[in-house]
């Protein structure tokens, strides 16, 4: 490799246990053209056994997706999410920040105990402030780990997000109307 700085960036990314921001790379590799190095390394590793990818402004190496079958062997199968968990995660990702009441309004049912816990435990969502409405409900957003895990460069990479937005399906939730059924059902508890 011709460029000593590219080499340093490559070594730092390779040794890191976590995806690194440009600032973190610079903190270790020293001052230099981080962006240029990342571009050149991305091109260099394209099509190899592992690749350099960006996830939410953080960079890491990961194996090529088409080699998954070679590498899954002998690994613990990751826990399967329930249908409620998958829907809740999708709602948070596409509507964030979003409150529990808004999630319930979209799903039409109360969120079972544990659904949000499982997503938080997985490190994919986190509480992010409160909505300034009566009751000040907690809002949830996705995390950088969510982007890393699902291979998304940023939230703009969410599948079909532009079409959904254009169709008005990501507009703010009208709680007054949509929560009707949920509230009534909730009175049982």
């Amino acid at each position: 490799m011709s460029d000593a700085y590219d080499r340093a960036v490559e070594a730092v990314l390779f040794a890191a246990t976590e995806p690194l921001t440009r600032d973190a790379i610079r903190a270790h590799a020293g001052d230099g053209d981080v962006a240029g190095a990342l571009d050149r390394l991305t091109v260099h590793y394209r099509g190899r056994g592992f690749e350099l990818v960006e996830r939410g402004g953080r960079w890491h190496f990961q194996t090529a997706a088409d080699l998954a079958h070679l590498l899954r062997r002998g690994r613990d199968e990751i826990r399967r999410l329930s249908r409620a968990g998958i829907e809740t995660l999708a709602i948070i990702a596409y509507h964030e920040p979003v409150t529990r009441a808004e999630i319930e309004a979209i799903r039409g049912v109360q969120t079972a105990r544990g659904t949000l816990d499982v997503l938080m435990e997985a490190g994919w969502i986190r509480p992010a402030g409160r909505r300034e409405v009566p009751g000040r409900p907690l809002m949830f957003t996705t995390t950088p780990e969510f982007l890393s895990h699902f291979g998304l460069k940023s939230r703009r990479d969410l599948p079909g997000v532009d079409d959904l937005r254009a169709a008005g399906l990501l507009d703010p939730v009208d709680l007054a109307f949509d929560q009707l059924a949920v509230e009534n059902a909730g009175e049982e508890d």
């Binding site: 690194l20 899954r72 990751i78 829907e87 291979g151 969410l158 079909g160 009208d174 009707l180 009534n184």
Partner: protein, 245 residues
């Protein structure tokens, strides 16, 4: 046909996550594109479902019945000539219901697409044994100049009264002077200058305080008839004598 329904109905309801889920399934059975569904037909289907459950005396969760009541209202309003006075607009309610179904459907679809992506630790893997990056932290202390000055100001403000008290302790109180003058008077028979009743001190401030309180003590003793005072002229030496009892 009716004979076959009970079993299937029970099973189906078990599989639904609430009335909206059931509505969405019914809507999807109508057409592929949710934007073209017939709300009226959907309402009919839902109410039919609930009615059959009622006939078969199946216990339905309350939220299914709440939704049924709301849909029955929507149905009657849709069938009646529109009354512009009534709010909200029935057509609007129907569109909103349709949007809700579309949104739930979209989120389901999105969830499925997310799960099908190349996922870290399932389809793609990070380096198995990274060396790790280590950061040796070096503390770098910071204080603003203002904070430094404000802190000193507060220290001074806080401790100044304490210094005050130390200085003010250098006084002779009236009680002390009274006791001393009365005691010394007992030992003297003749006139004596008031300065001779003062304790010895090199501290001029203490001496002034002593003189002032001793003078007051002398006045007090005179008032009580225990001492006599004598002075030739203003600012002349002041003499003090015990009153023989």
């Amino acid at each position: 046909m009716t004979d076959a329904v009970p079993e299937q109905l029970t099973l189906d309801l078990d599989g639904f996550e609430g009335p909206l889920d059931l509505l969405l399934s019914l809507a999807r059975a109508q057409k592929v594109d949710l934007r073209d569904i017939s709300i009226l037909q959907l309402v009919e289907q839902y109410l039919g479902y609930v009615e059959r459950a009622r006939v078969l005396q199946l216990e339905l969760a309350a939220d299914y019945l709440v939704m049924a009541a709301w849909l029955a209202y929507l149905k009657s309003a849709l069938l009646l000539p529109r009354d512009p006075e009534v709010e909200p607009d029935v057509e609007e309610l129907a569109i909103r219901l349709q949007l809700r179904l579309e949104r739930l459907d979209a989120m389901r679809e999105a969830g499925a697409r997310l799960m099908a992506r190349d996922r870290l630790d399932r389809d793609v893997f990070r380096r198995g044994a990274p060396e790790g990056l280590h950061v040796v932290r070096k503390a770098f202390w910071s204080v603003e100049y203002y904070d430094l000055l404000a802190a000193y100001g507060q220290v001074k403000a806080r401790t100044r009264p304490a210094l005050h008290v130390v200085r003010d302790r250098e006084v002779v109180t009236l009680e002390t002077a009274l006791a001393r003058v009365a005691a010394l008077l007992g030992t003297a028979i003749d006139w004596r200058e008031i300065e001779r009743f003062l304790p010895e001190t090199p501290n001029p401030r203490l001496r002034r305080s002593s003189l002032a309180s001793s003078f007051l003590a002398a006045l007090e003793l005179a008032r009580q008839g225990r001492a006599e005072l004598h002075q030739e002229a203003p600012f002349a030496p002041l003499y003090l004598r015990r009153v023989a009892s």
